[in-house]
């Protein structure tokens, strides 16, 4: 397979200004510039064209993994990372490169007028090259998005497991959402750490916000309760809704002597009683 001819590179270089203008026009027409500043895009297209020309002039081999393409790749990575964070969709990001195809083909058509075979070959070559670059852009875009999603998941995990102090020596953990192994792990660790830090004797796990309790969730709860007991503190489970109580009984789950209460207030009352405290009405 023949590589890009020198004529192609030269003609592209000569027409750089024209390429840039038409590329921008195409981008604008296709709507790929929505939500982006015109000046930014102009600067990016200019920068990309410069890098592309430099790489082509160096006689960069086919395939964009070679060292000659390092700067171009880096630029595209930065660009698609920015766009991913800015909330641009993948189509818009990919179109940044694909929109360059039209103007480039037009330039080639002029340069190879009267040589259909060479034109076809060069068009194919440059098309392949641009495809690879666009693909790389998409790959980085995808990775950046995945990074964003992962971070959000972690933040959600942290957010959904706050350990609150109800009284001196009484901690509460209001659980919201489904309990899976990973969340149980986080919950257990943060609760146990707080027990050590505060020296609390009683921990209340409130499961009002847990939509369903199945055997797995029950097992996770039991694990947490056992770990708390091993540390030398007591655990009360509160917020057992009627449906959940029914499910637990129907499933035949054995909560092994775990103290359960219908609501958080009852649990707190029990905790205070165990600590030897009484709440009375001020006269």
């Amino acid at each position: 397979m023949a590589a890009l001819q020198q004529t192609t590179v030269d003609s592209l270089k000569r027409a750089e200004a024209q390429l840039s203008a038409r590329w921008l026009a195409d981008l604008e027409a296709s709507g790929a510039m929505r939500n982006l500043k015109g000046d930014d895009v102009k600067q990016q297209t200019g920068e990309f064209l410069d890098l592309l020309m430099v790489a082509l002039e160096r006689g960069a081999p086919q395939g964009i993994t070679a060292a000659e393409w390092d700067e171009t790749r880096l630029f595209l990575e930065k660009l698609s990372h920015q766009r991913a964070l800015a909330g641009q969709d993948s189509q818009q990001t990919a179109h940044f490169i694909f929109a360059l195809k039209g103007p480039v083909f037009a330039v080639l058509q002029e340069a190879f007028a009267g040589q259909p075979q060479a034109l076809a070959e060069q068009t194919w070559q440059i098309s392949q090259l641009l495809d690879l670059l666009a693909m790389h852009t998409i790959r980085v875009y995808q990775k950046s998005r995945e990074g964003v999603i992962k971070r959000q998941q972690e933040e959600l995990l942290e957010l959904s497991t706050p350990v609150v102090k109800l009284w001196d020596g009484v901690l509460a953990l209001p659980m919201i959402g489904t309990l899976d192994s990973q969340r149980t792990q986080v919950v257990m660790e943060s609760l146990l750490q707080r027990i050590v830090d505060t020296g609390s004797e009683i921990a209340i796990i409130d499961i009002t916000g847990v939509p369903t309790v199945d055997t797995l969730v029950a097992q996770h709860l039991l694990k947490t309760v056992t770990a708390i007991r091993l540390m030398g503190a007591d655990c009360i489970i509160s917020g057992v809704r009627p449906q959940i109580a029914q499910t637990i009984v129907h499933l035949g789950l054995d909560l092994q002597g775990v103290v359960t209460k219908a609501n958080l207030a009852d649990a707190l009352a029990l905790a205070l009683r165990r600590l030897g405290l009484t709440v009375t009405k001020a006269v």
């Binding site: 257990m188 146990l192 027990i195 050590v196 004797e201 056992t226 091993l230 540390m231 030398g232």
Partner: protein, 120 residues
């Protein structure tokens, strides 16, 4: 050979595990402790594992056995100061140490021991 010291506090024995427990050390402790309990006819044993940050199933079983043998020799056993990571590991290993009393720290463990032994 290194040994885990067993301190006497009145009727109680205090065992503080400050080094990494290896199997031989655990067996030695079991021997020493049972011998000491019978010699001073101790009423209670307090095992402080706050410095222990790693356990395996063997050590977990040793802790269970030590508390079991103390109970047979009529001495209440309280395990205190377990680290969160250790508690999680034991639970994951399925060792829930049934029948072992626990407390958050030495002070509370002592209170618990006194309550149990003098209320009998």
């Amino acid at each position: 050979m290194e040994r885990i010291p067993i301190l006497r506090m009145g009727d109680f024995l205090l065992v503080t595990i400050q080094v990494d427990m290896h199997d031989q050390l655990a067996l030695q402790l079991q021997d020493d402790l049972s011998e000491r309990i019978s010699r001073i006819s101790a009423r209670g044993v307090l095992i402080d594992i706050s410095a222990l940050d790693m356990v395996d199933s063997f050590i977990g079983r040793m802790i269970g056995m030590i508390s079991g043998l103390s109970r047979i020799m009529d001495a209440e056993t309280v395990l205190v100061g377990m680290q969160p990571a250790v508690a999680i590991t034991l639970v994951e290993l399925g060792m829930t140490l049934p029948g072992v009393s626990t407390a958050l720290n030495v002070e509370r463990g002592m209170t618990l021991l006194r309550e149990r032994t003098y209320s009998q």
